[in-house]
């Protein structure tokens, strides 16, 4: 285990956190809600992908199909459930996502049981040498590459398409957007749909590293929440950098500081983040919110 390998492993876990964190940011940007069910939604998507794979579909195709299905399911969740709570007490909306989390967990256990399942990696086995005799797995590099593709794709969507422009308008000011004739409701559905799709990708990336289980995403969600908040809940680049920071610091602290060990390694990036937040309360890349009194 050399340092380069440790850092790349950290970046790889960080990329998984970043993918789920991006889903959280998408939901927060569109509807102003922190979706506690995001991880659990990703879990059910991953189970769908596993079922397709189990039925003989190639793993890449299974993942793509699960992502497409999640896009639709996420949009429906916004339209049928979340929309009723968007204008009310924020706590009610958050608790509804908690209810969604618990319910989806129940559905997953009901359909697939609680026995762990092996999820295949979409990347080839083996890896490239990193010097000093270590190897960096293709899975590690592939995870980082997938995240970069997601960030670039989302960036292109939001900056260079009319749809993205409309979405940004709704995120900035729903009332004015509605007056301009933008289909606000449908754009909010799109936000949730995209988030569910990105989350599904995160689930399929993390599943080969662990076993597929109903609680698979619980700890990932904690990291993703941390990354999304540190990134300011409104900046994709900030979120990705925060997630990488968390992944790398956690990995290095767990390996090189003997007191920290495997169980406490999560504390190190979180405590560091708190220190950062104290000096930059709006997050590292977030925009300062100007309040008019």
């Amino acid at each position: 285990m050399n340092l380069v390998q440790q850092i790349l492993d950290g970046l790889s876990s960080g990329s998984v956190y970043a993918t789920l964190a991006l889903a959280l940011v998408l939901v927060h940007q569109s509807t102003g809600i922190v979706n506690f069910a995001q991880g659990q939604m990703a879990v059910i998507s991953t189970y769908v992908a596993w079922t397709l794979y189990d039925a003989g579909v190639p793993v890449w195709a299974a993942i793509v199909a699960a992502i497409a299905g999640s896009l639709v399911a996420g949009a429906l969740a916004e339209r049928l459930l979340i929309r009723r709570f968007e204008k009310g007490e924020p706590l009610a909306a958050i608790v509804v996502t908690v209810g969604l989390l618990i319910s989806i967990n129940g559905v997953v256990s009901l359909i697939w049981g609680t026995v762990l399942k092996q999820f295949p990696s979409a990347f080839p086995r083996g890896g490239v040498g990193s010097g000093n005799g270590g190897t960096i797995g293709f899975g590690t590099l592939g995870t980082i590459a997938v995240l970069l593709v997601v960030v670039l794709a989302l960036g292109w969507l939001f900056r260079h398409t009319r749809l993205g422009l409309a979405f940004r308008a709704v995120a900035a000011n729903p009332e004015s957007s509605a007056l301009l004739g933008l289909p606000v409701g449908r754009l909010l559905m799109l936000g949730w749909g995209l988030a569910a799709a990105v989350g599904a990708l995160a689930g399929c990336l993390v599943a080969p590293k662990l076993y597929l289980a109903p609680e698979m995403m619980d700890s990932v969600l904690t990291y993703a929440l941390a990354a999304a908040v540190l990134g300011g809940l409104n900046s994709a680049i900030g979120t990705v950098l925060a997630a990488w920071f968390i992944g790398v610091v956690e990995n290095l602290a767990g390996t090189y500081i003997s007191f920290v060990g495997g169980d406490m390694k999560i504390a190190v990036p979180l405590v560091l983040m708190i220190l950062i937040l104290l000096f930059k309360p709006e997050g590292v890349f977030g925009h300062k919110e100007v309040r008019r009194v």
């Binding site: 922190v34 709570f85 989390l101 618990i102 129940g106 904690t222 997050g283």
Partner: protein, 337 residues
């Protein structure tokens, strides 16, 4: 039940009149006092646990409902209180010392977290509080010499005195009920005092509160500390109720469940805190009996159903029903809304 009957008397305003309130209170006290003598130990434990979590949710309400802050850290304060009293009992110290130690430690940690956190708002604050249970659980496992590690601590505290002739579950029920009643009364008094109004001001508009001479940061820190003290006290009561504490008790899920309980019961309502706690304790048992395999799914569906039917919580919905039945339409603005 007697509460409802009293509130819906045809003369309407019973709930507002002092004697009506006293009658309701007296009836409630009698029902609660007789309950453990006639019910099964299991039912007693359910009510005891409901009161334990009601105190924890009340603490959360002070911070979230009254002052408008977010917290995912309540389970950590619950754990500090519980471990405080359990560790003291484990070393043979008297229970009042453990109580004091647990509650004060929770308050001190709460205050230490609040001083920097009060500068932040919204999700940044949520982030800091999220860290508490995430760190507390492995820490409780790590400090094995003191906390008993992953196995947790079995203790025997608050034993029933001989002369009462009560079984353990009955005595624990009374101890927890008395403790809960005390801190609920304190919260009710606080809510009516100038502190309660200052918390309201901070929640509604910080700038306006400042203009009115309310020191916003100071009141946020106070709300945070109080919330932690209530969380710690609930933890102490929890150990009285079950005589056991383990790291699994203080996981983040408990914090989230307490928030859910608060939303279900309804913000800024003492009754709501109890109803939310009852939902958290009782509903999983009921769904477990309906179908052991799908208990969790049914619990989630119940949670969603309550939020869909009563987005502001059960207590405000109940309140509206009572007002409508009593023919007081048009005056349905509850204080504090």
């Amino acid at each position: 039940m007697s509460l409802m009957i009293d509130l819906v008397k045809p003369d309407g305003g019973a709930a507002r009149r002092p004697y009506g309130r006293m009658l309701t209170g007296a009836a409630l006290v009698i029902v609660l006092a007789v309950f453990p003598l006639v019910m099964s130990p299991f039912a007693n434990l359910q009510v005891t646990l409901t009161l334990v979590y009601a105190v924890a949710i009340l603490g959360l309400d002070i911070l979230v409902g009254w002052t408008g802050q977010v917290s995912l850290g309540q389970s950590a304060f619950f754990g500090i209180g519980a471990y405080g009293v359990a560790v003291c009992a484990d070393r043979g110290w008297p229970v009042w010392a453990g109580l004091l130690f647990g509650v004060v430690l929770a308050g001190v940690v709460g205050c230490l977290v609040a001083v920097p956190a009060a500068r932040l708002r919204g999700y940044a604050l949520g982030m800091i509080t999220l860290t508490l249970p995430v760190v507390a659980v492995p820490l409780a496992k790590r400090l094995e010499v003191v906390t008993g590690g992953a196995q947790g601590l079995n203790v025997t505290i608050a034993e029933a005195p001989e002369w009462t002739g009560l079984a353990a579950d009955q005595w624990h029920y009374y101890v927890v009920a008395a403790g809960a009643a005390l801190v609920f009364a304190l919260a009710a008094a606080l809510r009516r005092s100038h502190f309660g109004r200052a918390f309201d001001a901070v929640r509604v508009d910080e700038a306006l509160a400042t203009a009115q001479g309310v020191h916003v940061t100071r009141y946020k820190v106070l709300a945070f500390t109080l919330s932690a003290v209530y969380g710690g006290f609930a933890g102490v009561l929890y150990v009285v109720a079950v005589q056991f504490i383990s790291p699994e008790t203080l996981i983040l899920t408990l914090s989230i469940s307490l928030l859910a309980g608060l939303a279900i019961g309804g913000l800024r309502s003492l009754l709501g805190c109890v109803l939310g706690a009852a939902f958290y304790v009782v509903v999983p048992n009921v769904t477990g009996e309906v179908s052991a395999g799908q208990s969790y799914l049914l619990y989630g569906v119940c949670l969603l159903a309550v939020m869909l039917l009563m987005p502001r919580g059960v207590a405000p919905a109940l309140d509206r029903v009572v007002r409508n039945v009593a023919g007081r339409r048009g005056r349905a603005v509850a204080p504090g809304d």
